[in-house]
Structures are given as structure tokens and as C-alpha cells.
């Protein structure tokens, strides 16, 4: 038994054998031709045939998986008729007397590389499209039609380096249980297709995909983004029962996910999403998110070689905040240091990075890093409901210093004539025990709190969550952590401020009744968890949750708390 992980792209659980999709590469030879007119005629015929195939693929995909997934074939048709592409190919055939296969292959490949060079997830997927449609046309020219898809005869989990739209259209959907790809992100073709089919998918697993052999038994967990290879009997039973319950609950929960989360006795809480980039917006809205409780700004800083400009940040933040209109979007300022490193930001090595210059400490010590982000946020928040939140606050002084820099930025922007948000709410993450203890004082200088349970647990229990030997100790279910959370919520409420939670616990069904009972106002989680969280909250009463939370606080360990909740609130056991 072995586990590998990737990006959860479509949720649900699949169990079955691996079907390793191994596409034979077509071999393109280059040679000189004598009759360019005849060569061109071959191309015209192949293109016409390709057109018909694309129309068929469009119709079939539309029937199987809906319009969104099918639309790709119309885009591919447009690419094959691109006048610039055709001109380039024509020149190579007529002037250089190159054979049509080589001319088409080289031209399409050069466009694909240009699109990839822009380094944008959407355009990389279009690079795959131009390669897909040109190889379809090339196969028509060469008269080869074999696809590995034909070998799929039993229900299987499709495993591939990458899947093109043409590959997937040929798969018999009755035999597809789920998808696992080495490449791609949450907006890749495979991800869209899987969501359209309602099948689980894990994408972007990288080279670990080579560990999977054809025919091996797999468990694919599209919620967690995990694939278990050759699961043992225990794991198999666990996943099977989870799978069964999951499907039933999923159907019920999704049908009403756009309705609010109100307990049986009328207490409403806010259910919002954690997102990490612009692409996450649609997923969050579709899942029923009532806003964004945590927008991680790191996405703008990673995988590049220099700082993002104020303008680039402004555009991105504004796009996201505007997409949610009146609904709140909480932007968290740059949270790096500790285990998150950015190569072009010079951060001296520390003996104890988790206790060192990270997050707000780093930002306060580097105005050249901090100010462009604050300026971008103040500008982006004009005309929508963008809020700002600061991570790793330990003292009241941290907040006062941060507010000073923020006001300085606001003044500068006004002098420069920019429209800025005057009423932007400012909040802090509560993830350091000192901040939790000082919550009464801190709630006087901020508008809201958001509890970060991952860090709060590891700092409270003094157990590094990246160290496998002690990570278990750093559990958010420890009574000590719940007691701190209670203190934070009570302190904030007595000052008229609200409290959210954006750690992994907010989406954990076992934790929700306790957090609800403690009076948490906002739950921020990964989008796939939203329908389930809302459904759970609708099934219990606030009064019962309050009693349960009170009892849980008096238990002695995280295990006792988990067992207690499972016993008194059976609705948490969906799988």
C-alpha cells in the first residue's frame, strides 16, 4: 500500500483498477515534395475530415458531459482554420516544398510553445488544444487512427501524464470511474470534464504517477487529492463505506447549497471559501460560497523571479473582489517565512524559522515588500467589499504598527489622486497563543478576527506540524485549542466584533458542531466542503451545539472529543 497526492480537482471517491493511458507518439518525417498543389489538396481533405470529427466529438461530449466541456471542440475548429496558421503552412509547402505533415507539425508546435511561454494556466491548456487538433489532423493525413482508448473494457480509473480532449472523447464513459493526471491544474480540461461528469479527479500529481502500474487496484480520493495504490483490506473497506454514504449525501447537499446555513432553531452563520487565485473564484461561487474568508496572496509571489508590481496585484485583487460584488472577500497579506520560502526575497537562514521573521514580521521589516501590497489592496477595495487581514500577529503593537503603514499608504494614494476604499475593514489572524490570550485588547483595535487553527495548534502544543513524529500532537481537536478559541470568540463578541475561522478545521464536519456552539460567526473552507458543511449546520440546533461545545471543553483529550461528537451528533459521520 502506498499513497501519492496531487491537486483535488473534482470530488468524490473512486475505487477500481488503473487504466494507464499511454498515447503512442506519431512519428513525423520531413522530406521534399515535387507537387505542392497535390500536397495542398491532401491537407484540404484531411482538414475537412478533421472538421467532421470535431463536430461529432462536440455533439458526443455535449450529450455526455455538458456544453462547457464540449465547447473546447469548437475552439479547436477555430484553431485549425486560423488564417495565420494556414498561411505559414502554405508558405512552407509552396515555397520550401516541405511535406504537409512536417509543415503542419512544426507550425502548430511553434504556436503551442508561444502559448506555453506566457506562463498562464489557461493558455497552457490552449497549447494542449493546438497540439491535440494538429495531431488529429496529422493522424488523418497519415491514416493512423489507433487510440489507446479502445482498450478500455472494464470500469477503471484513468491514469495519464495528460489527457487531451480528443483522448477523452474516445473513452467509453461507462467504464470511467475517475481521473488521475500528472499534469494540469483545477481548470485543466480533465478537471472540467470530470466535474461535468460528476466523477472524482486528482490532477498535478507529478512524476509520482510513474508509481502506478496498469491494472493495479487504486483508491482515488477527489476531496483530499490522494491516490492509494494497492490499498489493504482495511483501507478498502473504509473507502467503500465512505463512498456509498458520500454519494447519497452529496446529491442532497448540492441541491440546496446556494441556500444559507441556518440551524433548526434559526441561528445563521456565514459559509465562505478559502481560495488561492483568480481561477478559484468560479469554483467557490458554484459551491455556494457566501464570500471569501481567506484569499491567500502568495499565488502572486510564487513561481516567478521578481516581486509582482502594485499594478499587477491591484488587477488581480480587484478582479476577485468585484466577482463577489457585495459579498465579503478577505485578502490576507503576504504570509511567507517559516516553511514557505520565496527565492527572490532575501530571507536569512534562521535556526527556528517558525519562531522567526515570518508573515507580518517580515512585511513590517520590509516596507518595499509591504507597501505595494497595501496600496494595491486599498485601491482594489474601492467599490466592493474587500477586507484586509494580517497573519502572525503576536501583540497589540504589531497591529498599531501595521495600521500606521496602512494609513501612510492611504494618504499617499489620495495625494496621487487614486480612488481608495475609506471604510475597509481590518482584521487579524489569531494563530499565536499570545494573540488568543490578548483577544480582549486586540478586539479593540481591529474589526474582526479569523482563527488559523493549523498554526494555533502547533504553537499551543509546541509540536511542529511538519515533523511527522510530533504532528499528531498538534491537533486542533485538543481541548486546549478549543478553550483558546472560546476565549477569543467571547472577547470579540463582548466588543461587538465578529470571529471567523479559516484553518482546515472550519470544513471538518467533526469540528463544526463545537465551533458553532462556541459562537463562531464565519466558517471559511475549501469549496468542495461547503455543501456538506451547510447541510450539517441545517441538521442541528444551535442550542444543542452550545451544550455539546460546553461538554467538549471539559473533556481531557482530542480523542475523547472526537468520540464524543461522533456519538452525540451522528450527522457528522458521512463517510
Amino acid at each position: 500500500m502506498k499513497s501519492i497526492s496531487g491537486i483535488p480537482a473534482s470530488y468524490g471517491i473512486a475505487i477500481g483498477p488503473a487504466f494507464v493511458f499511454d498515447r503512442a507518439e506519431i512519428v513525423i518525417e520531413t522530406y521534399s515534395i515535387k507537387d505542392p498543389a497535390a500536397e495542398w489538396k491532401r491537407f484540404e481533405e484531411a482538414r475537412e475530415k478533421t472538421h467532421h470529427q470535431l463536430d461529432e466529438a462536440y455533439q458526443k461530449t455535449k450529450d455526455d458531459c455538458g456544453e462547457e466541456a464540449a465547447e473546447i471542440f469548437n475552439a479547436q475548429k477555430l484553431m485549425l482554420e486560423d488564417p495565420e496558421l494556414i498561411n505559414t503552412v502554405k508558405n512552407q509547402v509552396e515555397k520550401d516544398l516541405t511535406n504537409i505533415e512536417s509543415a503542419l507539425y512544426k507550425t502548430a508546435e511553434s504556436y503551442a510553445q508561444q502559448l506555453e511561454a506566457i506562463n498562464d494556466e489557461y493558455l497552457s491548456a490552449r497549447a494542449l488544444d493546438i497540439r491535440d487538433v494538429s495531431s488529429r489532423c496529422l493522424r488523418n493525413l497519415l491514416g493512423t487512427t489507433d487510440s489507446p482508448a479502445a482498450a478500455l473494457k472494464i470500469p477503471s480509473i484513468i491514469v495519464a501524464r495528460d489527457l487531451t480532449p480528443s483522448d477523452t472523447v474516445l473513452l467509453d464513459k461507462d467504464f470511467v470511474l475517475g481521473f488521475c493526471t500528472a499534469e494540469g491544474g483545477s481548470t485543466s480540461h480533465t478537471a472540467i470534464l470530470a466535474r461535468g461528469l460528476g466523477l472524482p479527479a486528482v490532477v498535478g500529481v507529478g512524476t509520482a504517477i510513474e508509481d502506478i502500474q496498469n491494472g493495479e487496484e487504486l483508491v482515488l480520493d477527489g476531496d483530499a487529492g490522494v491516490i492509494v495504490i494497492n490499498p489493504d483490506q482495511g483501507a478498502l473497506e473504509e473507502f467503500s463505506s465512505r463512498q456509498e454514504k458520500f454519494y447519497k449525501l452529496q446529491a442532497e447537499a448540492e441541491a440546496i447549497t446556494h441556500q444559507p446555513a441556518v440551524t433548526t432553531d434559526g441561528h445563521q452563520v456565514e459559509i465562505v471559501a478559502n481560495i488561492g487565485n483568480v481561477e478559484g473564484v468560479q469554483t467557490a461561487l458554484d459551491a455556494g460560497a457566501e464570500g471569501v474568508g481567506l484569499l491567500r496572496s502568495e499565488f502572486l509571489y510564487l513561481e516567478r523571479s521578481s516581486l509582482p508590481s502594485e499594478e499587477e496585484q491591484y488587477q488581480n485583487y480587484k478582479t476577485i473582489a468585484d466577482a463577489f460584488g457585495d459579498k465579503p472577500v478577505i485578502l490576507r497579506s503576504l504570509d511567507v517565512g517559516g516553511d514557505k520560502d520565496i527565492p527572490y526575497i532575501d530571507m536569512p537562514a534562521e535556526t527556528n524559522p517558525f519562531l522567526g521573521v515570518r508573515a507580518i514580521r517580515l512585511c513590517l521589516s520590509r516596507p518595499e515588500l509591504f507597501k505595494p501590497q497595501l496600496r494595491a489592496a486599498l485601491r482594489a477595495g474601492y467599490g466592493n467589499n474587500l477586507k484586509l487581514m494580517f497573519p502572525m500577529v503576536a501583540t497589540v503593537d504589531d497591529v498599531l504598527k501595521t495600521r500606521e503603514v496602512l494609513e501612510e499608504c492611504r494618504g499617499e494614494l489620495k495625494n496621487e489622486g487614486f480612488d481608495v476604499a475609506d471604510e475597509m475593514d481590518i482584521g487579524i489572524m489569531i494563530e499565536i497563543p499570545s494573540a488568543a490570550i490578548m483577544a480582549d485588547q486586540l478586539s479593540e483595535v481591529v474589526d474582526f478576527f479569523s482563527i488559523g487553527t493549523n498554526d494555533l495548534s502547533q504553537y499551543t502544543l509546541a509540536a511542529d506540524r511538519t515533523n511527522a513524529q510530533v504532528a499528531q500532537i498538534a491537533s486542533g481537536f485538543q481541548p486546549a485549542v478549543f478553550r483558546l478559541i472560546k476565549g477569543v470568540i467571547d472577547a470579540a463578541h463582548s466588543n461587538g466584533k465578529w470571529v471567523g475561522l479559516c484553518g482546515e478545521m472550519a470544513g471538518e464536519l467533526l469540528a463544526i458542531p463545537i465551533l458553532l456552539g462556541l459562537g463562531l460567526d464565519e466558517f471559511s473552507m475549501n469549496p468542495p466542503a461547503i455543501p456538506f458543511a451547510k447541510q450539517l449546520i441545517r441538521s442541528i440546533s444551535f442550542k444543542h451545539a452550545q451544550q455539546v461545545a460546553q461538554t467538549a471543553l471539559d473533556l481531557r483529550s482530542d480523542t475523547e472529543i472526537r468520540e464524543y461528537i461522533q456519538k452525540v451528533i451522528p450527522e457528522v459521520n458521512i463517510g
Binding site: P83, E84, Q114, L115, Y122, L123
Partner: protein, 89 residues
């Protein structure tokens, strides 16, 4: 040679469906039509060219047309962009 400058207000920029509509609209006219974003200029009838412009939301693009129906072509493309590619915000 006629030219206009417009700003892309669509969420996804001049990508995906908006890019397809843009190219298909341009293709209806016999005039030569070029579109420029930043330092890149491309044939407005070429989907691959339009995609490589990388014109996101908020991008300013310049469209130039030359030929018999240049004026109509520019008007149609301008309308398409200003009407947010037929989508309500």
C-alpha cells in the same frame, strides 16, 4: 487605415469565449484587421494570434482596419467589446 482603442471589461479577458467571438466577428469582414496589445500586434482573424496577446481584464487594445468595409468592421468589434461580449455583468 482606421483605428479605435477599447478596454476589455470581460472577467476572463480576451480569452476563451470572448476571444472566439472576437475572431469570428472579424472574419465576417473582408478588410485587413489588426489588433495590438502592448508591444504585440496580430491578425484579428487569427485565434492563435489573439490568444498570444495575453489581454486580461482591464487591458487596452487598439484595433486597426483597412479595406472596403473597414468602418463597419471596427464598429462591430467595438460594439462586441463594449457590450461585454453579449454577457450581462
Amino acid at each position: 487605415m482606421l483605428e479605435i482603442t477599447v478596454i476589455i471589461i470581460h472577467e476572463v479577458g480576451l480569452h476563451a469565449r470572448p476571444a472566439s467571438l472576437f475572431v469570428q466577428t472579424a472574419a465576417k469582414y473582408s478588410s485587413d484587421i489588426e489588433v495590438t496589445h502592448g508591444e504585440i500586434t496580430t491578425n484579428a482573424k487569427s485565434i492563435l494570434g489573439v490568444l498570444t496577446l495575453g489581454a486580461h481584464k482591464g487591458a487596452e487594445i487598439t484595433i486597426k482596419a483597412e479595406g472596403e468595409d473597414a468602418e463597419e468592421a471596427l464598429k462591430a468589434l467595438e460594439q462586441l467589446v463594449l457590450n461585454n461580449f453579449g454577457e450581462d455583468e
